[in-house]
Symmetry: C2
Subunit: 193 residues, 2 copies
């Protein structure tokens, strides 16, 4: 009878994602990965394939676990504009936490690899589309609730929010303070009215 798999595949995947998220794809070594995942190189290759395959899996993992939180937030029972504001402030807040100034993983991947790595680019695009979908639902609800202007179509406004959130997180990586980022959040949300 076979020895059952001993490590939690999903947990190892989450650990790998965290390392890629902090260091970037190219700057992450196999040693970084196995150290963070707590498994040997053989097991890693056996389970996940190549470094690049593992990388692609981490993007999918991020979409399954983090991006769906934004999708989930779209259904929070509160005024849509308040949900949007809370999402943005929360993202800024996380940038201020120790060892957490990583921004959005999809953001990072978009900048570092999307142009040259088509496979990664497809996954990143899918994730950003999910974010847009979540914001789209929130904007529509906000427009029904009368808090969000109907001057612009909700699809464009959703893209505006995805873009703005990404921009804010990039600013955060470039050392902008939380106060400054929150100022930008306020103007962004104000733009919806």
């Amino acid at each position: 009878m076979a020895r059952p798999k001993e490590f939690d595949v999903d947990q190892a995947l989450a650990s790998a994602m965290n390392v890629f998220w902090s260091n970037g794809y190219k700057a992450t070594s196999l040693g970084d990965l196995t150290g963070a995942m707590g498994i040997s190189k053989s097991s890693m290759y056996e389970t996940f394939g190549s470094k690049h395959d593992l990388f692609l899996s981490t993007i999918e993992h991020y979409i399954r676990t983090v991006t769906t939180q934004i999708s989930g937030a779209a259904h929070i029972d509160a005024p849509a504009v308040k949900v949007i504001k809370a999402l943005f402030h929360r993202a800024v807040q996380r940038m201020a936490e120790p060892n957490s100034r990583r921004g959005c993983y999809l953001n990072n991947c978009a900048v570092e690899v999307s142009v040259r790595d088509t496979e990664a680019g497809e996954r990143v695009e899918k994730g950003l589309d999910m974010m847009e979908e979540a914001f789209f639902e929130l904007v529509q609800r906000g427009q029904r609730e009368g808090d969000i202007s109907t001057r612009h179509d909700p699809r464009s406004m959703a893209r505006f929010l995805v873009s703005s959130l990404n921009g804010i997180l990039v600013m955060g990586k470039a050392h902008a303070s939380t106060d400054k980022l929150n100022d930008v959040v306020d103007i962004t949300v104000n733009a919806l009215a």
Copy 2:
């Protein structure tokens, strides 16, 4: 009598910058650099120091040549809000050009290296501060001209513009079409009113 330096240092620096801008810091090899710069490895090390030193010089070069264009734009004799709109649309337009979907070099550096590379981070921050300064002047002028609302202070609005522009360019790297990016530009500029 000594042999005069034969290659244009500034042009070589510009070539190096373009390679780092397209590939990213880590994914750019010495071979990539010497090939693009058209000089030998010895000459490169003699003139620019290490690969990392060269990298830092390219960020400074970008600030001197590209970021100052935005500063220059602040003094264009046209309504400020139109200058801002033109800057944004021009940036989006460049994303659509072949082999040009590189986004903003400061953006890319902020995401890839700023958190871990303090020296690069300082330079990136300086460059983004210059962009903010340019937008600050434009917003102030726009407020005087009556086209930009005085509801928000111009410093925050300037940061909002830097952040928004960066977010739009990240979206562009993640395959968003020019039409979609221009929609976001329109909402962004509309937010100034």
